[in-house]
């Protein structure tokens, strides 16, 4: 996720494999051949040269089963993959069953590191399970693919061609005379037909085509049309199984209390006093704290509450949001500055500018608050471990469980369930490590660990707090000539790495591209540009939060552009347009946005309109927010217009849903979101003090998708970055006051 999107357009040699499935039938999937197998980083984990992604299986009974070793967290990944496969396989979407394969320890090592990062990029899976699960592997041609978009289609197309070939052979007719349709191969000339199920075994003996023919997008019948999501029916009846719903025979329950002090640790606890409480089975130390195991979750929670625990502060007892902010300001002026990008001669340009403008922005730490609190169920028997959880990274879950139980990673089997939200949180080793530690303490019995919401809020991997400074130079005519941007923040790559990865993979943040993503690659014409950062080291855990660096850089850059528009007395739309002459894709989004929003139509007094435009993960999103301020100083966000260019679309209905979702997530943060520290502890603990937007506060949202034949971009994250600046730019429009700090709940709009 920290990787630059362009780097993710993977150009890898990929190997199509197909053959006889376990239990009969045809299996087709993709193996990736990494460019540099055995490089230091990956080699350290014994990762072999190939890895396999999702695969499709056709049983002799004609069932078409798609295995997606990847978590569904509401982003529609199951459906999107199924659509890509169904398109080329020539079956209906309703003919495909999707299943979560278990990730066996034997193969889990093969999920390479990149798999753990791009959690919102559903089209990348790596794993080598299939290759090993196939008793017979016919190898197709090695070829170059760009990523899952093509890979999935190739899997579908290859399977279809193998099935057609099998039919052609059995009828002794030419391949081209046969056609595949809705799970049947027909020979129109003679009126014969055979179902995929009938052909599966014979097709498994055929070598996968070296270069399967893909449909041109103009012939898509499914991809690009709104399709109902496969996972939705189970989610309206309460039947969908989330990690927290896992039930095993004889299962125990565990509750945990972790050290609330940043960088602190557990000193002691009085187990004796609670061992006699109803249902209590064990009290055991875990990474970061102590857990109580009981016969029900309620008993475990109650005993935990009664447990006297002593923590020490690790020397950070004085840490507070105030002290952190002071450190940041100091670092802004005198920290170790790393230049990330330099174009032209910004210094000279600033000096010779007719006018300069400077602004400082500051954003707080943010929590994820996934709707489903962190949880994991585990059982340990000798050197074998099994875990059940909803996770964005089976690799991390596996590593955590292995460490927690003290076994090798190949001894862990991971069962992946639905996730009640992920947003970047569910890819840490913490929860599976604790669950395995507890399961080790009650060896032989399954135990379900559930974090309270308080633990979830206080032990998150937070979106970093950021301080940003901008300077701009303008010439006599008001044209923008120079732009400098310095960011002060912690590195999420470092934070995530320290918590989750072997030390040799953890850098110092200097090359963490996520810190400046969305700040150093602006679409605007900026002849003299400098983007710098100062990497902070603090005892606050930071991690990947929906849209990562874009979440703050989108706010900063789109606010500052708005400031410059105002400074040069230009309309914010016209101003941006002037800077986008070299960026036709962005310009198109902006123009559609202005038109759909009725940008030229004046608003009544007390109302305001603001816009923002931001590219992330290969997609360009523009948003306009319309707000009202009541005479009592109450803010209401009335309407959001959202235009997205995410290239070719798979399921447009999911794109609309993801834009809404990203907007709500960003709005919650802009309005209410802040994690603060006092005396070394996180102040907030649950929804009453870490609020989320509710239905009554919802704006109307209109989403427009720009038709495009470009390569598909992401949709889970790009909806989030523009909403905060669109909102504060609207407030500026209404009040003339620039907002450089969030959340807005701390502001008194009456005194603006």
């Amino acid at each position: 996720m920290s990787t630059h999107p362009k780097a993710l357009k993977i150009t890898k040699r990929a190997l199509l494999v197909g053959g006889l499935a376990v239990g009969g039938g045809l299996v087709v999937g993709y193996a990736y051949l990494r460019d540099k197998p055995g490089t230091a980083g990956f080699g350290a984990f014994g990762v072999a040269g190939t890895a396999l992604n999702a695969w499709v299986k056709i049983t002799p009974e004609g069932r078409i089963i798609l295995a997606v070793p990847r978590g569904e967290m509401g982003q529609g990944v199951y459906t999107a993959i199924a659509m890509l496969i169904a398109e080329e396989l020539e079956v209906g979407l309703d003919q495909i069953e999707v299943e979560h394969p278990d990730v066996d320890g034997k193969y889990a090592n093969a999920f390479i590191l990149t798999e753990s990062m791009p959690q919102f990029r559903p089209l990348i899976w790596l794993g080598e399970r299939v290759a090993a699960a196939l008793p017979l592997i016919a190898t197709g041609g090695s070829t170059t693919i760009r990523d899952g978009w093509e890979a999935m289609r190739r899997v579908g197309a290859s399977a279809r061609m193998m099935l057609v070939q099998a039919a052609a052979i059995s009828w002794d007719v030419a391949f081209d005379e046969c056609e595949a349709k809705l799970g049947v191969v027909n020979h129109p000339k003679t009126g014969r037909s055979l179902s995929y199920g009938d052909l599966a075994e014979a097709a498994a003996q055929i070598k996968p085509p070296a270069d399967p023919q893909l449909k041109p997008p103009s012939e898509f019948r499914l991809v690009g049309t709104p399709a109902p999501r496969i996972d939705i029916p189970a989610k309206v009846t309460g039947q969908a199984q989330f990690g927290i719903d896992v039930v095993l025979p004889g299962m125990l329950y565990a509750a945990v209390r972790q050290c609330p002090l940043r960088g602190g640790r557990l000193v002691s606890y009085d187990a004796e006093a609670v061992m006699g409480l109803p249902g209590v089975e064990a009290v055991t130390p875990v990474h970061g704290g102590v857990a109580v195991v009981a016969h029900s979750y309620w008993q475990a929670s109650k005993a935990l509450e009664a447990l006297a625990v002593e923590f020490e502060d690790g020397g950070n007892g004085e840490l507070s949001s105030k002290s952190i902010s002071a450190l940041y300001h100091e670092a802004m002026d005198s920290g170790d500055v790393i230049c990330v990008r330099e174009e032209g001669d910004t210094k000279r340009s600033l000096k010779t500018s007719a006018k300069t403008h400077e602004a400082i922005y500051e954003l707080p730490f943010l929590a994820h608050t996934c709707m489903e609190p962190m949880n994991c169920t585990a059982i340990v028997k000798g050197d074998r471990v099994e875990i059940w959880l909803g996770c964005q990274s089976p690799t991390m879950a596996n590593w955590g469980a292995a460490e927690g139980a003290g076994v090798e990673t190949d001894k862990v089997t991971t069962h992946v369930t639905f996730m009640g939200g992920g947003f970047g949180r569910r890819q840490e080793v913490d929860i599976s490590r604790q669950a395995a530690q507890i399961a080790r303490a009650v060896e032989g019995r399954p135990v379900k660990l559930i974090w309270s919401r308080e633990e979830d809020v206080q032990h998150d991997s937070y979106r970093p707090a950021v301080l940003a400074k901008f300077q701009a130079g303008l010439d006599e005519s008001g044209s923008l000539t120079a732009w400098t941007n310095r960011l002060v923040l912690q590195s999420v790559d470092v934070g995530y790495g320290q918590r989750n990865l072997p030390a040799l993979l953890v850098g110092d943040g200097s090359d963490d591209m996520s810190m400046t993503q969305g700040a150093d690659d602006l679409p605007y014409a900026l002849p003299h540009l400098t983007v710098e950062k100062v990497v902070m080291d603090l005892p606050v855990d930071v991690g990947y939060w929906r849209s990562v660096g874009h979440s703050y850089n989108g706010f900063f850059t789109e606010s500052f552009i708005d400031e410059l528009a105002a400074l040069s007395k230009q309309d914010p739309y016209a101003y941006r347009r002037g800077l986008l002459r070299q960026a036709p894709r962005h310009l198109q989004v902006l123009n559609i946005l202005a038109e759909k929003a009725g940008w030229e139509i004046p608003l009544a007094a007390g109302r305001g309109r603001g816009m923002a435009l931001h590219e992330s993960f290969g997609s360009v999103v523009g948003q306009v927010a319309e707000i009202s301020l009541s005479a009592q100083g109450e803010l209401s966000v009335d309407r959001v217009i959202c235009v997205v260019d995410c290239g070719m679309t798979v399921n447009p209905d999911t794109i609309v849903a993801q834009m809404q979702s990203g907007i709500v997530y960003g709005l919650s943060a802009a309005l209410y979101g802040e994690i603060t520290l006092e005396a070394g502890q996180i102040v907030q603990s649950n929804f009453p003090d870490y609020e989320a937007l509710k239905l009554a506060a919802m704006p109307a949202i209109e989403t427009y998708i720009v038709p495009s034949t470009d390569y598909p971009g992401g949709v889970g994250e790009p909806g989030t970055p523009p909403i905060a600046p669109a909102l504060t730019n609207a407030l500026f429009n209404a009040t003339g006051k620039r907002i450089r700090k969030l959340p807005l709940k701390n502001l008194d709009f009456l005194s603006l």
């Binding site: 109902p228 939705i232 309460g238 969908a240 029900s296 996934c370 849903a657 979702s661």
Partner: protein, 150 residues
């Protein structure tokens, strides 16, 4: 203590600590995991069930306070293969994303519509105060209106 309640039409007798919240009784003792845990402090609505027909947050409701009551959970909405009209509207409008909040949402909405079959937007705003971190609110509103207009 032994408590008796009626859950989804069946009488259940449990020997359990009286302060155990209904949420955990349903989930851990009766195996009805459709009702979710989100906050434990009556702030999110993920645990919403019907207690004698009223939408109630079960995470802070001790079993001793509901002994003898009739409880209805998400598992009881569909009759066989026929979904409740609210569930159907949820599918028609493709409401759920991660889905975790939706049991509580649907139970809150069913109770609202039983009381107010034709709710205004304001009625909906006041009645549906559950949290959805995936931000499915606008589709929820649309689905409610669809049911009301049917």
């Amino acid at each position: 203590m032994v408590y008796t309640l009626k859950v989804n039409g069946d009488t259940k007798t449990l020997n359990i600590d009286g302060d155990t919240p209904l949420l955990w009784v349903l989930r851990d003792h009766l195996g009805l995991t459709g009702t979710k845990f989100g906050c434990g402090v009556a702030a999110c609505g993920a645990c919403t069930v019907h207690v004698d027909g009223i939408a109630t947050r079960s995470c802070v409701l001790p079993i001793e306070a509901v002994a003898g009551s009739e409880i209805r959970t998400i598992e009881d909405l569909a009759q066989g293969d026929t979904l409740h009209k609210v569930q159907q509207a949820w599918i028609d409008n493709q409401v759920p994303q991660c889905g975790y909040c939706q049991s509580g949402m649907i139970m809150a909405v069913v109770a609202l519509l039983e009381e107010t079959p034709q709710p205004t937007d304001e009625d909906i705003d006041n009645a549906i105060t559950n949290i959805c971190r995936c931000g499915t609110y606008n589709r929820i509103r649309k689905a409610i209106h669809q049911v009301a207009e049917a």
